[in-house]
Symmetry: C2
Amino acid sequence: MIIDCHGHYTTAPPQHDAWRKEQLAAFAEGRPSPAYPQISDDEIRESIEQNQLRLLRERGADMTIFSPRASVMAHHLGDERVSGEWARACNDLIARVAGLFPDTFIGVGQLPQSPGADLKASVAELERCVTELGFIGCNLNPDPSGGMWTAPPLTDRYWYPIYEKLTELDVPAMVHVSASCNPNFHATGAHYINADTTAFMQFIQGDLFSDFPDLRLVIPHGGGAVPYHWGRYRGLADMLHKPPLDGHVMQNVFFDTCVYHQPGIDLLVRVIDAGNILFGSEMVGAVRGVDPQTGHYFDDTKRYIDAADLTDAQRSAVYEGNARRVYPRLDKALRERGR
Amino acid sequence: MIIDCHGHYTTAPPQHDAWRKEQLAAFAEGRPSPAYPQISDDEIRESIEQNQLRLLRERGADMTIFSPRASVMAHHLGDERVSGEWARACNDLIARVAGLFPDTFIGVGQLPQSPGADLKASVAELERCVTELGFIGCNLNPDPSGGMWTAPPLTDRYWYPIYEKLTELDVPAMVHVSASCNPNFHATGAHYINADTTAFMQFIQGDLFSDFPDLRLVIPHGGGAVPYHWGRYRGLADMLHKPPLDGHVMQNVFFDTCVYHQPGIDLLVRVIDAGNILFGSEMVGAVRGVDPQTGHYFDDTKRYIDAADLTDAQRSAVYEGNARRVYPRLDKALRERGR
């Protein structure tokens, strides 16, 4: 089967985003948040069937590890209470999608991070997502300030409570920033890719996985700039007197395949061990158009994987095996359904 | 001939860096800067012959477009006066190297940028570098705050005075950040690569080259993450209703070959037109070790270019022709010497 590890609910019914606007307006004016609106099952069904589900079927994938829209997590807006309400609303909506389409979508949660706040609320929401909503992981924002980069590096002890909970629950996190309020950084064109690159370099500099040998982190968008500059990173690890990357970082870090052209995917599979690559499309997401050079959607990454120089066993690992290994609660859920 | 477009004077005699330390200490204590120290021609000769010149000869390149050490430009330290003194000292030293080794080194200048300051002093120093020191370009720091990213995007009118002077003098700039004082960003492992990616995305979002059709900008480190994510950038240009990248950006933007492994260079030449690629090594620079997988220095990028799938004409363009076109004052200087 083919599991897409990186899908966002970018097509949620409009009441959901409208409520967020009202919530932020209320916060700005010092009023309590409005009540969350009614959204019917039919509205959710329609928003999925016409978009993610249609595209999954057209492209031939089977299921998606599904999380709230990343660009509107916007942890830099409001405060910790506002982020908490918004995370719960987003996660509850993902749980409804997964409940309506249990064979196709399984949830990953948004955390109520907030600049300067500790991670207690995030730990609690992660626990709720996994134990109550049946989620199999979360998205962790390394820059809740939205492009100002005021949080400490991911190797700092500030982040340890969330790593402890991830380890305890045996679920991974995807390292995923949100919108940028820094005009230098276009969200999907610079901030996302920079964050991926930045996180990887932090892992080289630190020794995080000595403290958390079972922690698993997915770096999306094909690992940012890392595979293209793999020689630089191997060389920097050496200069910093760190062990080779395969032991120091790559036992715990995985890249998805959200790289929107064949040469990029070819590089990825040439450089990175197939055991560290998880199929992903970020669909419906960052780049929605059709590539005039191929006549196919840029984000139809399955085409690139199908054409890549992989053995059958490697391709199967990228499509399914690695996801089941990195997300053991997914594997368990699938086994319970005989898949 | 083989021209390396990206070399820094990372091996300057120790008095030079010692003076910088004293200058910053004096600034912190409100004292005037100390006098710049004596450095003999022999000391400069030795610092070059044992390092850059030796490696150039060993590797088979002929000359280097040479600029002050990028990581210690550190525009975020001191103030505009301090940056001005430091830029002049660094540029004068580069001019001495070029004077001692005129067949091998030609200068590119450091600008006296400073966070929040306008670009008048940078324009004046650029003019001095080109008209008095014989330099052929400059390095332009898109983030003089050193990882805080407080300056406006490169497409903002804030930057126009330097673009006007670059155009008037017919010299290019390399977009090159310096050290990072943000603990999230390792300088050579994250900040450099992120800045390259960020600058390129800014050029997509803006219309800078409509206003400056003759401006030429080199994005180093193989264009950051851009070639690896070339599909993403083509797709984002489309989503932003911009023209295709070959007309919108790539008439004016060039990438160097500071990508430290064969698969990365193979991707670069597969995706980016050979006319937009300039040979560079960043030597002696970011990554100084030997790749245990090849037995050769990571930054011996000539080996990768020699092995890349390029026609003889394309390889000649990457090694020489493009540099002479992007840096016309280099071409003129070479012609005057019959090269």
